[in-house]
């Protein structure tokens, strides 16, 4: 798990108030929604808000790609990194 993945995992735990859950409990490739961790659509909205605040990025809620980005911690980290790189250029 890289540093950004670890940071995002902790953000998920803090934002969604997951008591007794540690970063180690959420592997980067575990699905966050449905059968995986078990998050739902309200969690997705909450998480999108937290990511936008923390990383100063934009997430279009109607984007077809959004669902893909939110699949796992790894895909979220890749998305955040890409957004940051785009801003840096």
């Amino acid at each position: 798990m890289n540093a950004l993945q670890q940071e995002i995992t902790q953000l998920i735990i803090d934002t969604l108030n997951l008591e007794d859950v540690t970063v180690e409990d959420i592997p980067p490739d575990q699905p966050l929604f449905g059968e995986g961790l078990g998050l739902d659509s309200v969690d997705a909205l909450e998480l999108a808000l937290a990511l936008q605040k923390r990383y100063d990025i934009r997430i279009a809620s109607d984007s077809k790609d959004a669902r893909q980005h939110f699949t796992t911690v790894a895909s979220l980290a890749a998305f955040v990194q890409a957004q940051r790189d785009a801003c840096a250029n």
Binding site: L16, L18, E19, E46, L49
Partner: protein, 248 residues
Amino acid sequence: MMDFHIEQWRAWAPGLDSDDAWQAWATHPIIVPEGDAQPSCDFLSAMQRRRLSRLARMTLHVAWPLCGEDEQLPLVFASRHGETPRTFALLSEAADGQPLSPTQFGLSVHNAIAGQWSILRGQRGESVAIAGEADTFEHAMVEAAALLSEGAPAVLVVIAEERPPAAYDDWIDDVPFSYALALRVRGSDMADHAQAGERWQLRLENGRDHSADRTWPHALDFVQALYRRKDTLEHPWKTRRWIWQRVP
């Protein structure tokens, strides 16, 4: 006149979480320190607890053991002030021009806790969420009496109040500390005499409230009466005089 058979009850307040603690409080009632204590609700998984506010935890904590595993029970959830900390947090975010938390916004209705109870306990029957004045407790009992008269074998009544943020101090003066009380009630009939629990009658009379000083919130006063085996309680509010009478 309403007749109730209170089969079981359970109360919680910060530091008051056992019969012994409540018994001691009933003997010498004090304003207990608020702190940030809340029931753990560890009968639920972390995923199930993630959206439970403090008031929701208090409600679930007192109500949980009063409903059987496979039982369907109508619920009356009563709170005069509701979740003031959540309301205040949302208003503060709005005032600062910040986006509102979707989770907090989604739960910012008076029946949110009744809904969470329904989901977590698989309750598919009726539930009522009410807010009244200082006699919200008695109005909750009126709701329970209505459900019982419609044929419900038993009703779960929860009254829960949370100490509001300091910003509300000028307006809210009847929540000395956070508390929740759950009662499992049935209608009273002759067959009940042999059964455990307590029988009480509640009636409403017209009157003027002349008492200058407020005592304890009605629900807490009732808890005190339960523990101290009092027989009669009078709860005046404005033009209403609620009279509780224990039936021997």
